[in-house]
Protein backbone atom coordinates (compact mmCIF):
# COMPACT_ATOMS: atom_id res chain seq x y z
CA UNK A 1 0.00 0.00 0.00
CA UNK A 2 2.85 2.37 0.88
CA UNK A 3 4.35 1.66 -2.52
CA UNK A 4 1.15 2.75 -4.21
CA UNK A 5 1.05 5.97 -2.15
CA UNK A 6 4.65 6.71 -3.07
CA UNK A 7 3.84 6.01 -6.68
CA UNK A 8 0.95 8.48 -6.51
CA UNK A 9 3.08 11.41 -5.37
CA UNK A 10 5.51 10.54 -8.11
CA UNK A 11 2.60 10.24 -10.50
CA UNK A 12 1.58 13.87 -9.96
CA UNK A 13 5.09 14.97 -10.85
CA UNK A 14 5.42 12.60 -13.79
CA UNK A 15 2.03 13.60 -15.17
CA UNK A 16 2.73 17.31 -14.70
CA UNK A 17 5.91 17.08 -16.74
CA UNK A 18 4.48 14.67 -19.33
CA UNK A 19 1.30 16.65 -19.92
CA UNK A 20 3.09 19.99 -19.55
CA UNK A 21 0.45 21.31 -17.15
CA UNK A 22 0.21 21.75 -13.40
CA UNK A 23 -1.78 18.99 -11.78
CA UNK A 24 -3.39 19.48 -8.40
CA UNK A 25 -4.28 16.62 -6.10
CA UNK A 26 -7.39 18.14 -4.52
CA UNK A 27 -8.39 15.08 -2.52
CA UNK A 28 -7.18 11.55 -2.18
CA UNK A 29 -7.50 9.85 -5.60
CA UNK A 30 -8.76 13.05 -7.28
CA UNK A 31 -6.46 14.88 -9.67
CA UNK A 32 -7.54 17.99 -11.56
CA UNK A 33 -5.79 19.74 -14.37
CA UNK A 34 -6.58 22.70 -16.60
CA UNK A 35 -5.28 22.74 -20.14
CA UNK A 36 -5.60 24.67 -23.36
CA UNK A 37 -8.42 23.42 -25.57
CA UNK A 38 -6.11 22.96 -28.58
CA UNK A 39 -4.08 20.36 -26.72
CA UNK A 40 -6.99 18.13 -25.72
CA UNK A 41 -6.29 15.22 -28.10
CA UNK A 42 -2.58 15.12 -27.25
CA UNK A 43 -3.22 15.28 -23.52
CA UNK A 44 -5.89 12.56 -23.61
CA UNK A 45 -3.63 10.32 -25.69
CA UNK A 46 -0.73 10.86 -23.28
CA UNK A 47 -3.02 10.14 -20.34
CA UNK A 48 -4.17 6.90 -21.94
CA UNK A 49 -0.60 5.82 -22.56
CA UNK A 50 0.25 6.58 -18.93
CA UNK A 51 -2.54 4.26 -17.74
CA UNK A 52 -5.72 6.33 -17.61
CA UNK A 53 -7.70 3.81 -19.61
CA UNK A 54 -11.25 4.52 -18.56
CA UNK A 55 -13.15 7.53 -19.88
CA UNK A 56 -15.89 7.95 -17.31
CA UNK A 57 -17.78 10.74 -19.05
CA UNK A 58 -17.51 14.22 -20.53
CA UNK A 59 -19.33 17.06 -18.75
CA UNK A 60 -20.04 20.48 -20.15
CA UNK A 61 -20.61 23.56 -17.99
CA UNK A 62 -22.04 26.79 -19.35
CA UNK A 63 -20.33 29.80 -17.72
CA UNK A 64 -22.69 32.44 -19.01
CA UNK A 65 -21.12 35.53 -17.41
CA UNK A 66 -17.64 34.56 -18.51
CA UNK A 67 -18.93 33.77 -22.00
CA UNK A 68 -17.25 30.39 -22.15
CA UNK A 69 -18.06 26.71 -22.05
CA UNK A 70 -16.05 24.43 -19.84
CA UNK A 71 -15.57 20.81 -20.79
CA UNK A 72 -14.47 18.31 -18.18
CA UNK A 73 -13.09 14.92 -19.24
CA UNK A 74 -13.30 12.50 -16.32
CA UNK A 75 -10.71 9.74 -16.64
CA UNK A 76 -9.88 6.88 -14.28
CA UNK A 77 -6.77 4.77 -14.02
CA UNK A 78 -7.30 1.16 -13.00
CA UNK A 79 -3.56 0.85 -12.52
CA UNK A 80 -2.98 3.79 -10.16
CA UNK A 81 -6.52 3.89 -8.74
CA UNK A 82 -6.72 7.63 -9.36
CA UNK A 83 -9.03 9.82 -11.33
CA UNK A 84 -7.81 12.57 -13.62
CA UNK A 85 -10.24 15.34 -14.46
CA UNK A 86 -9.09 17.34 -17.44
CA UNK A 87 -10.72 20.77 -17.70
CA UNK A 88 -10.63 23.02 -20.70
CA UNK A 89 -12.50 26.16 -21.73
CA UNK A 90 -13.80 27.16 -25.14
CA UNK A 91 -15.47 30.25 -26.54
CA UNK A 92 -19.23 30.33 -26.04
CA UNK A 93 -20.07 32.06 -29.30
CA UNK A 94 -18.25 29.64 -31.56
CA UNK A 95 -18.00 26.51 -29.41
CA UNK A 96 -15.74 24.07 -31.16
CA UNK A 97 -13.15 21.53 -30.01
CA UNK A 98 -11.38 18.51 -31.49
CA UNK A 99 -13.07 15.17 -31.02
CA UNK A 100 -11.30 12.46 -29.04
CA UNK A 101 -12.97 9.64 -30.97
CA UNK A 102 -9.56 8.47 -32.17
CA UNK A 103 -8.81 7.47 -28.56
CA UNK A 104 -12.03 6.16 -27.05
CA UNK A 105 -13.84 5.37 -30.26
CA UNK A 106 -17.64 5.27 -30.28
CA UNK A 107 -17.97 5.80 -26.52
CA UNK A 108 -16.28 9.20 -26.77
CA UNK A 109 -18.46 9.93 -29.78
CA UNK A 110 -21.59 9.17 -27.79
CA UNK A 111 -20.53 11.45 -24.93
CA UNK A 112 -19.79 14.19 -27.46
CA UNK A 113 -23.16 13.68 -29.12
CA UNK A 114 -24.76 14.42 -25.78
CA UNK A 115 -22.76 17.65 -25.29
CA UNK A 116 -23.56 18.70 -28.84
CA UNK A 117 -27.26 18.14 -28.39
CA UNK A 118 -27.67 19.74 -24.97
CA UNK A 119 -25.13 22.59 -25.29
CA UNK A 120 -24.58 23.03 -29.02
CA UNK A 121 -20.85 22.37 -28.84
CA UNK A 122 -19.28 21.29 -32.11
CA UNK A 123 -16.75 18.46 -32.07
CA UNK A 124 -14.44 18.54 -35.08
CA UNK A 125 -13.78 15.10 -36.46
CA UNK A 126 -16.90 13.51 -35.00
CA UNK A 127 -19.04 12.53 -37.97
CA UNK A 128 -21.94 11.26 -35.89
CA UNK A 129 -23.48 14.17 -33.99
CA UNK A 130 -27.12 13.14 -34.44
CA UNK A 131 -29.40 13.97 -31.51
CA UNK A 132 -29.76 11.33 -28.81
CA UNK A 133 -32.70 12.36 -26.69
CA UNK A 134 -34.79 15.09 -28.28
CA UNK A 135 -36.97 14.37 -31.25
CA UNK A 136 -38.11 17.14 -33.62
CA UNK A 137 -36.55 19.78 -31.39
CA UNK A 138 -36.34 23.15 -33.13
CA UNK A 139 -35.43 25.37 -30.16
CA UNK A 140 -32.00 26.33 -28.83
CA UNK A 141 -29.85 23.73 -27.03
CA UNK A 142 -31.94 23.20 -23.89
CA UNK A 143 -29.21 23.03 -21.23
CA UNK A 144 -27.87 26.52 -21.91
CA UNK A 145 -28.08 28.86 -18.93
CA UNK A 146 -29.90 31.56 -20.91
CA UNK A 147 -32.60 29.14 -22.05
CA UNK A 148 -35.52 29.36 -19.65
CA UNK A 149 -37.55 26.21 -20.15
CA UNK A 150 -40.32 27.40 -17.86
CA UNK A 151 -41.06 30.39 -20.11
CA UNK A 152 -40.58 28.27 -23.20
CA UNK A 153 -43.11 25.61 -22.22
CA UNK A 154 -45.61 28.20 -21.09
CA UNK A 155 -45.32 30.05 -24.37
CA UNK A 156 -45.21 27.03 -26.63
CA UNK A 157 -47.53 24.60 -24.98
CA UNK A 158 -50.03 26.01 -22.53
CA UNK A 159 -51.74 28.90 -24.33
CA UNK A 160 -55.22 28.56 -25.71
CA UNK A 161 -54.17 30.07 -29.06
CA UNK A 162 -51.60 27.36 -29.53
CA UNK A 163 -52.94 24.89 -32.14
CA UNK A 164 -51.45 22.06 -30.14
CA UNK A 165 -53.50 23.03 -27.09
CA UNK A 166 -56.79 23.84 -28.79
CA UNK A 167 -58.11 20.33 -28.41
CA UNK A 168 -58.21 20.85 -24.63
CA UNK A 169 -60.25 24.04 -24.93
CA UNK A 170 -62.80 22.86 -27.47
CA UNK A 171 -66.36 22.67 -26.19
CA UNK A 172 -68.41 19.82 -27.51
CA UNK A 173 -71.66 20.90 -29.16
Amino acid sequence: MAAIEQEKTDLVEVLSSELDASITLKKERRMWVEIDSKKIVDVCLKALQLGFEHLSTISAVDWLEEGRFELVYHLWSYKYRTSLNIKTKIDRNKPSISSINSIWDTYAETCERECHELFGINFEGNSNLTPLFLEDWQGPPPFLKDFNWREYTLKEHYKEENPREQVYFEVKK
Partner: protein, 372 residues
Protein backbone atom coordinates in the same frame (compact mmCIF):
# COMPACT_ATOMS: atom_id res chain seq x y z
CA UNK B 1 -41.04 -5.03 -40.31
CA UNK B 2 -41.29 -1.34 -41.07
CA UNK B 3 -39.80 -0.83 -44.50
CA UNK B 4 -38.24 -2.73 -47.35
CA UNK B 5 -35.28 -0.96 -48.86
CA UNK B 6 -35.59 -0.86 -52.61
CA UNK B 7 -31.92 -0.67 -53.36
CA UNK B 8 -31.31 -4.12 -51.94
CA UNK B 9 -33.19 -7.26 -52.72
CA UNK B 10 -36.24 -8.21 -50.71
CA UNK B 11 -34.25 -10.02 -48.03
CA UNK B 12 -32.82 -6.69 -46.79
CA UNK B 13 -35.01 -4.75 -44.43
CA UNK B 14 -35.02 -2.55 -41.32
CA UNK B 15 -36.94 -3.26 -38.19
CA UNK B 16 -37.24 -1.99 -34.65
CA UNK B 17 -36.47 -3.91 -31.50
CA UNK B 18 -38.49 -1.92 -28.98
CA UNK B 19 -39.82 0.39 -27.64
CA UNK B 20 -43.07 -1.61 -27.78
CA UNK B 21 -41.30 -4.94 -27.45
CA UNK B 22 -42.22 -6.78 -24.23
CA UNK B 23 -39.38 -6.17 -21.81
CA UNK B 24 -37.23 -3.93 -23.98
CA UNK B 25 -38.02 -1.01 -21.71
CA UNK B 26 -38.37 2.54 -22.98
CA UNK B 27 -35.65 2.05 -25.50
CA UNK B 28 -35.44 1.01 -29.09
CA UNK B 29 -32.81 -0.40 -31.40
CA UNK B 30 -33.09 -0.01 -35.13
CA UNK B 31 -31.64 -3.09 -36.79
CA UNK B 32 -30.77 -3.42 -40.46
CA UNK B 33 -31.21 -7.04 -41.45
CA UNK B 34 -30.23 -9.28 -44.28
CA UNK B 35 -32.32 -12.37 -43.89
CA UNK B 36 -31.86 -13.36 -40.26
CA UNK B 37 -28.52 -11.62 -39.83
CA UNK B 38 -28.14 -8.18 -38.29
CA UNK B 39 -26.00 -5.97 -40.52
CA UNK B 40 -26.06 -2.86 -38.39
CA UNK B 41 -27.72 -1.80 -35.17
CA UNK B 42 -28.45 1.78 -34.15
CA UNK B 43 -29.56 2.53 -30.61
CA UNK B 44 -32.36 5.05 -30.32
CA UNK B 45 -32.65 6.41 -26.76
CA UNK B 46 -34.75 9.36 -25.66
CA UNK B 47 -38.09 7.81 -24.75
CA UNK B 48 -37.48 8.59 -21.09
CA UNK B 49 -35.64 11.91 -21.19
CA UNK B 50 -36.80 13.96 -18.22
CA UNK B 51 -33.90 16.40 -18.02
CA UNK B 52 -32.89 15.70 -14.40
CA UNK B 53 -29.63 17.59 -14.79
CA UNK B 54 -31.49 20.75 -15.73
CA UNK B 55 -34.23 20.19 -13.14
CA UNK B 56 -31.60 19.92 -10.40
CA UNK B 57 -30.22 23.35 -11.29
CA UNK B 58 -33.55 24.81 -10.18
CA UNK B 59 -33.83 22.94 -6.86
CA UNK B 60 -32.12 22.79 -3.50
CA UNK B 61 -30.03 19.73 -2.55
CA UNK B 62 -32.71 18.33 -0.23
CA UNK B 63 -35.28 18.47 -3.03
CA UNK B 64 -32.74 17.01 -5.42
CA UNK B 65 -32.22 14.02 -3.16
CA UNK B 66 -35.88 13.17 -3.77
CA UNK B 67 -35.41 13.68 -7.51
CA UNK B 68 -32.32 11.49 -7.55
CA UNK B 69 -34.43 8.36 -6.77
CA UNK B 70 -36.09 8.68 -10.11
CA UNK B 71 -32.93 8.45 -12.16
CA UNK B 72 -33.38 4.70 -12.36
CA UNK B 73 -36.10 2.41 -11.09
CA UNK B 74 -33.79 -0.56 -10.54
CA UNK B 75 -31.68 0.95 -7.77
CA UNK B 76 -33.14 4.24 -6.47
CA UNK B 77 -31.37 4.00 -3.10
CA UNK B 78 -27.97 3.76 -4.75
CA UNK B 79 -28.69 6.88 -6.80
CA UNK B 80 -29.74 8.58 -3.57
CA UNK B 81 -26.37 7.64 -2.16
CA UNK B 82 -24.29 9.02 -5.06
CA UNK B 83 -26.17 12.31 -4.93
CA UNK B 84 -25.87 12.58 -1.16
CA UNK B 85 -22.14 11.88 -1.33
CA UNK B 86 -21.63 14.59 -3.94
CA UNK B 87 -23.38 17.16 -1.73
CA UNK B 88 -21.55 15.89 1.39
CA UNK B 89 -18.28 16.37 -0.41
CA UNK B 90 -19.11 19.92 -1.50
CA UNK B 91 -20.32 20.92 1.96
CA UNK B 92 -17.60 19.03 3.86
CA UNK B 93 -20.16 17.19 5.93
CA UNK B 94 -18.90 14.70 8.46
CA UNK B 95 -21.46 11.93 8.10
CA UNK B 96 -22.08 10.04 11.39
CA UNK B 97 -20.80 6.46 11.56
CA UNK B 98 -24.24 4.94 12.07
CA UNK B 99 -25.59 6.71 9.00
CA UNK B 100 -22.72 5.32 6.91
CA UNK B 101 -23.60 1.78 7.99
CA UNK B 102 -27.30 2.28 7.26
CA UNK B 103 -26.43 3.72 3.84
CA UNK B 104 -24.32 0.68 2.99
CA UNK B 105 -26.94 -1.81 4.21
CA UNK B 106 -29.62 -0.16 2.08
CA UNK B 107 -27.37 0.18 -0.96
CA UNK B 108 -26.54 -3.52 -0.81
CA UNK B 109 -30.17 -4.56 -0.32
CA UNK B 110 -30.90 -2.40 -3.33
CA UNK B 111 -28.20 -4.26 -5.27
CA UNK B 112 -29.74 -7.63 -4.44
CA UNK B 113 -33.24 -6.65 -5.52
CA UNK B 114 -31.83 -5.08 -8.67
CA UNK B 115 -30.06 -8.35 -9.53
CA UNK B 116 -33.36 -10.15 -8.98
CA UNK B 117 -34.98 -7.87 -11.56
CA UNK B 118 -32.11 -8.68 -13.89
CA UNK B 119 -32.78 -12.38 -13.40
CA UNK B 120 -36.46 -11.72 -14.03
CA UNK B 121 -36.01 -9.82 -17.32
CA UNK B 122 -33.46 -12.34 -18.53
CA UNK B 123 -36.02 -15.09 -17.87
CA UNK B 124 -38.62 -13.06 -19.71
CA UNK B 125 -36.29 -12.78 -22.68
CA UNK B 126 -35.68 -16.49 -22.84
CA UNK B 127 -39.28 -17.53 -22.31
CA UNK B 128 -38.54 -18.94 -18.85
CA UNK B 129 -41.62 -17.49 -17.17
CA UNK B 130 -41.17 -19.39 -13.90
CA UNK B 131 -37.90 -17.55 -13.37
CA UNK B 132 -39.59 -14.20 -13.86
CA UNK B 133 -42.32 -14.93 -11.34
CA UNK B 134 -40.03 -16.42 -8.71
CA UNK B 135 -37.50 -13.58 -8.92
CA UNK B 136 -40.10 -10.82 -8.76
CA UNK B 137 -41.76 -12.60 -5.86
CA UNK B 138 -38.57 -12.78 -3.81
CA UNK B 139 -37.76 -9.18 -4.68
CA UNK B 140 -40.95 -8.25 -2.88
CA UNK B 141 -39.51 -9.33 0.48
CA UNK B 142 -36.78 -6.72 0.06
CA UNK B 143 -39.33 -4.10 -1.00
CA UNK B 144 -41.13 -4.79 2.27
CA UNK B 145 -37.94 -3.95 4.15
CA UNK B 146 -37.65 -0.70 2.16
CA UNK B 147 -41.25 0.04 3.02
CA UNK B 148 -40.52 -0.39 6.71
CA UNK B 149 -37.33 1.68 6.73
CA UNK B 150 -37.89 4.40 4.12
CA UNK B 151 -41.67 4.50 3.82
CA UNK B 152 -41.61 3.77 0.10
CA UNK B 153 -41.50 0.37 -1.55
CA UNK B 154 -39.64 1.23 -4.75
CA UNK B 155 -38.83 4.93 -4.41
CA UNK B 156 -37.47 5.92 -0.99
CA UNK B 157 -38.19 9.65 -1.56
CA UNK B 158 -34.66 10.74 -0.73
CA UNK B 159 -34.18 8.57 2.35
CA UNK B 160 -30.41 8.76 1.93
CA UNK B 161 -29.99 12.53 2.05
CA UNK B 162 -27.05 14.92 2.32
CA UNK B 163 -25.58 14.64 5.81
CA UNK B 164 -26.76 11.13 6.62
CA UNK B 165 -30.13 9.47 6.37
CA UNK B 166 -33.52 10.99 7.08
CA UNK B 167 -34.57 8.75 9.94
CA UNK B 168 -33.07 6.11 12.17
CA UNK B 169 -33.88 2.44 11.57
CA UNK B 170 -37.17 1.41 13.16
CA UNK B 171 -37.00 -0.90 16.17
CA UNK B 172 -37.47 -4.24 14.45
CA UNK B 173 -35.61 -3.39 11.23
CA UNK B 174 -32.43 -5.36 11.95
CA UNK B 175 -34.42 -8.47 12.80
CA UNK B 176 -36.49 -8.11 9.68
CA UNK B 177 -33.47 -7.64 7.41
CA UNK B 178 -31.89 -10.83 8.79
CA UNK B 179 -35.16 -12.72 8.33
CA UNK B 180 -35.45 -11.48 4.75
CA UNK B 181 -31.83 -12.47 4.01
CA UNK B 182 -32.73 -15.93 5.24
CA UNK B 183 -35.74 -16.05 2.95
CA UNK B 184 -33.98 -14.84 -0.19
CA UNK B 185 -31.23 -17.42 0.29
CA UNK B 186 -33.55 -19.81 -1.58
CA UNK B 187 -33.71 -17.42 -4.54
CA UNK B 188 -29.92 -17.04 -4.52
CA UNK B 189 -29.49 -20.82 -4.79
CA UNK B 190 -32.21 -20.95 -7.45
CA UNK B 191 -30.40 -18.28 -9.47
CA UNK B 192 -27.00 -19.93 -9.21
CA UNK B 193 -28.05 -23.40 -10.32
CA UNK B 194 -27.25 -24.25 -13.92
CA UNK B 195 -30.27 -24.12 -16.13
CA UNK B 196 -30.47 -25.61 -19.61
CA UNK B 197 -32.47 -22.63 -20.88
CA UNK B 198 -29.70 -20.21 -19.82
CA UNK B 199 -26.90 -22.34 -21.22
CA UNK B 200 -28.49 -22.81 -24.63
CA UNK B 201 -29.46 -19.16 -25.05
CA UNK B 202 -26.52 -17.32 -23.47
CA UNK B 203 -23.40 -19.45 -23.87
CA UNK B 204 -20.96 -17.98 -26.42
CA UNK B 205 -23.40 -15.25 -27.39
CA UNK B 206 -22.41 -11.57 -27.56
CA UNK B 207 -18.73 -11.93 -26.73
CA UNK B 208 -17.09 -8.71 -25.51
CA UNK B 209 -13.31 -8.83 -25.16
CA UNK B 210 -11.52 -7.20 -22.27
CA UNK B 211 -9.80 -4.59 -24.46
CA UNK B 212 -13.03 -3.60 -26.16
CA UNK B 213 -14.86 -3.45 -22.85
CA UNK B 214 -12.35 -0.96 -21.46
CA UNK B 215 -12.28 1.12 -24.63
CA UNK B 216 -16.06 1.39 -24.83
CA UNK B 217 -16.38 2.45 -21.20
CA UNK B 218 -17.90 -0.74 -19.78
CA UNK B 219 -18.08 -0.97 -15.99
CA UNK B 220 -19.54 -3.20 -13.30
CA UNK B 221 -20.75 -6.73 -14.06
CA UNK B 222 -20.26 -6.20 -17.81
CA UNK B 223 -16.55 -5.46 -17.41
CA UNK B 224 -16.09 -8.18 -14.79
CA UNK B 225 -17.85 -10.61 -17.11
CA UNK B 226 -15.05 -9.94 -19.60
CA UNK B 227 -12.41 -10.99 -17.09
CA UNK B 228 -11.24 -7.62 -15.72
CA UNK B 229 -11.03 -7.43 -11.93
CA UNK B 230 -12.33 -4.06 -10.83
CA UNK B 231 -14.84 -2.68 -8.38
CA UNK B 232 -15.29 0.95 -7.34
CA UNK B 233 -16.08 -0.21 -3.81
CA UNK B 234 -12.59 -1.70 -3.58
CA UNK B 235 -10.53 0.72 -5.70
CA UNK B 236 -12.18 4.02 -4.81
CA UNK B 237 -13.79 3.13 -1.46
CA UNK B 238 -16.60 5.28 -0.14
CA UNK B 239 -18.62 5.09 3.09
CA UNK B 240 -17.34 2.03 5.01
CA UNK B 241 -16.53 -0.34 2.16
CA UNK B 242 -12.81 -0.34 2.98
CA UNK B 243 -13.59 -1.94 6.36
CA UNK B 244 -15.68 -4.77 4.95
CA UNK B 245 -14.65 -8.09 3.52
CA UNK B 246 -16.08 -9.21 0.23
CA UNK B 247 -14.91 -10.86 -2.97
CA UNK B 248 -15.20 -9.59 -6.52
CA UNK B 249 -16.69 -12.28 -8.77
CA UNK B 250 -15.08 -12.38 -12.22
CA UNK B 251 -15.63 -14.57 -15.27
CA UNK B 252 -13.29 -14.64 -18.25
CA UNK B 253 -15.43 -15.71 -21.18
CA UNK B 254 -16.98 -12.31 -21.93
CA UNK B 255 -20.21 -13.80 -23.25
CA UNK B 256 -23.76 -13.16 -22.10
CA UNK B 257 -23.63 -16.15 -19.77
CA UNK B 258 -20.53 -14.99 -17.90
CA UNK B 259 -22.00 -11.51 -17.37
CA UNK B 260 -25.10 -13.11 -15.93
CA UNK B 261 -23.03 -15.41 -13.68
CA UNK B 262 -21.07 -12.45 -12.31
CA UNK B 263 -24.34 -10.76 -11.37
CA UNK B 264 -25.75 -13.79 -9.63
CA UNK B 265 -22.54 -14.39 -7.67
CA UNK B 266 -22.60 -10.78 -6.49
CA UNK B 267 -25.82 -11.49 -4.61
CA UNK B 268 -23.89 -13.66 -2.16
CA UNK B 269 -21.23 -10.99 -1.67
CA UNK B 270 -23.88 -8.36 -0.97
CA UNK B 271 -25.45 -10.65 1.60
CA UNK B 272 -22.03 -11.00 3.27
CA UNK B 273 -21.65 -7.21 3.36
CA UNK B 274 -25.09 -6.72 4.92
CA UNK B 275 -24.47 -9.28 7.68
CA UNK B 276 -21.09 -7.72 8.50
CA UNK B 277 -22.56 -4.22 8.57
CA UNK B 278 -25.45 -5.32 10.77
CA UNK B 279 -23.00 -6.99 13.18
CA UNK B 280 -20.96 -3.84 13.61
CA UNK B 281 -23.80 -1.30 13.42
CA UNK B 282 -22.84 1.42 15.95
CA UNK B 283 -25.21 3.52 18.03
CA UNK B 284 -25.52 7.27 17.65
CA UNK B 285 -26.79 10.04 15.46
CA UNK B 286 -27.93 9.37 11.89
CA UNK B 287 -27.72 12.90 10.53
CA UNK B 288 -25.23 15.72 10.81
CA UNK B 289 -26.69 18.39 13.07
CA UNK B 290 -26.65 21.38 10.77
CA UNK B 291 -28.09 24.72 9.99
CA UNK B 292 -30.88 24.71 7.49
CA UNK B 293 -29.57 22.79 4.47
CA UNK B 294 -30.23 25.72 2.13
CA UNK B 295 -28.14 28.08 4.25
CA UNK B 296 -25.39 25.47 4.31
CA UNK B 297 -25.33 24.95 0.58
CA UNK B 298 -24.86 28.68 0.05
CA UNK B 299 -21.43 28.25 1.59
CA UNK B 300 -20.49 25.50 -0.85
CA UNK B 301 -18.20 26.59 -3.61
CA UNK B 302 -16.33 24.33 -5.95
CA UNK B 303 -16.77 21.14 -7.86
CA UNK B 304 -16.70 17.43 -7.21
CA UNK B 305 -16.80 14.17 -9.11
CA UNK B 306 -18.12 11.22 -7.10
CA UNK B 307 -18.15 7.64 -8.39
CA UNK B 308 -20.05 4.74 -6.89
CA UNK B 309 -20.43 1.09 -7.75
CA UNK B 310 -24.10 0.70 -8.59
CA UNK B 311 -25.56 -2.71 -9.24
CA UNK B 312 -25.19 -2.14 -12.99
CA UNK B 313 -21.78 -0.47 -13.05
CA UNK B 314 -20.22 2.90 -12.36
CA UNK B 315 -22.61 5.69 -11.51
CA UNK B 316 -21.26 9.17 -10.97
CA UNK B 317 -22.25 12.73 -10.16
CA UNK B 318 -20.36 15.81 -11.27
CA UNK B 319 -21.59 18.79 -9.29
CA UNK B 320 -20.57 22.44 -9.43
CA UNK B 321 -21.59 24.88 -6.70
CA UNK B 322 -21.10 28.63 -6.84
CA UNK B 323 -22.51 29.74 -3.51
CA UNK B 324 -26.12 29.81 -4.68
CA UNK B 325 -28.83 27.83 -2.93
CA UNK B 326 -29.03 25.50 -5.91
CA UNK B 327 -26.18 23.69 -7.68
CA UNK B 328 -24.86 25.51 -10.75
CA UNK B 329 -24.49 22.37 -12.81
CA UNK B 330 -25.16 18.69 -12.24
CA UNK B 331 -24.03 15.94 -14.56
CA UNK B 332 -25.11 12.37 -14.04
CA UNK B 333 -23.13 9.48 -15.46
CA UNK B 334 -25.23 6.34 -15.69
CA UNK B 335 -23.72 2.91 -16.32
CA UNK B 336 -26.14 2.09 -19.14
CA UNK B 337 -25.00 5.07 -21.19
CA UNK B 338 -21.97 3.12 -22.39
CA UNK B 339 -23.58 -0.34 -22.23
CA UNK B 340 -26.67 0.52 -24.22
CA UNK B 341 -25.25 2.70 -26.98
CA UNK B 342 -21.68 1.89 -28.12
CA UNK B 343 -21.43 -1.62 -26.66
CA UNK B 344 -24.88 -2.78 -27.72
CA UNK B 345 -24.34 -1.46 -31.25
CA UNK B 346 -20.99 -3.21 -31.41
CA UNK B 347 -22.25 -6.55 -30.05
CA UNK B 348 -25.36 -6.71 -32.22
CA UNK B 349 -23.44 -6.28 -35.47
CA UNK B 350 -23.37 -9.57 -37.34
CA UNK B 351 -25.41 -11.69 -34.95
CA UNK B 352 -28.47 -13.80 -35.64
CA UNK B 353 -31.72 -11.99 -34.83
CA UNK B 354 -32.70 -14.72 -32.36
CA UNK B 355 -29.70 -13.71 -30.20
CA UNK B 356 -30.71 -10.04 -30.00
CA UNK B 357 -32.88 -10.39 -26.85
CA UNK B 358 -30.23 -12.45 -25.07
CA UNK B 359 -27.51 -9.87 -25.77
CA UNK B 360 -29.83 -6.97 -25.01
CA UNK B 361 -30.82 -8.22 -21.59
CA UNK B 362 -27.40 -9.57 -20.70
CA UNK B 363 -26.15 -5.96 -20.76
CA UNK B 364 -28.28 -5.23 -17.68
CA UNK B 365 -30.03 -2.32 -19.32
CA UNK B 366 -31.97 0.51 -17.76
CA UNK B 367 -33.03 3.12 -20.34
CA UNK B 368 -33.84 5.55 -17.54
CA UNK B 369 -30.22 6.38 -16.80
CA UNK B 370 -29.26 6.62 -20.47
CA UNK B 371 -31.83 9.35 -21.00
CA UNK B 372 -31.91 10.89 -17.50
Amino acid sequence: MTSVKKKYDASDFEMFFGPAHPGSGNFSVKVEMRGERVLKATADPGYLHRGFEKLMEYREPMQNSVLSDRVCVLEPLQWNLVHAEAVDDLMDYDVPERAKYIRVILAELSRIQSHFIWYAVLSLGTGFMTGFNVAMGYRDYILDVFNLITGGRVYPAGYICPGGVRKDLPENAEKKILAVLDKIEYMRKFASTENLAWLSRFKEVGILTKEEAIKYGATGPILRGSGFVTDVRREDPYEIYDLLEFDIPVHDEGDAYSRFRVGMEEIEESMKIITQALDRLPEGEVRTPTLKPIVQFRKANGETYIRNELSRGEGAFYMVATGEKTPYRVKIRGPSFSHMIPILERLLTGVNYADVPAIYWSLYQCPADVDR
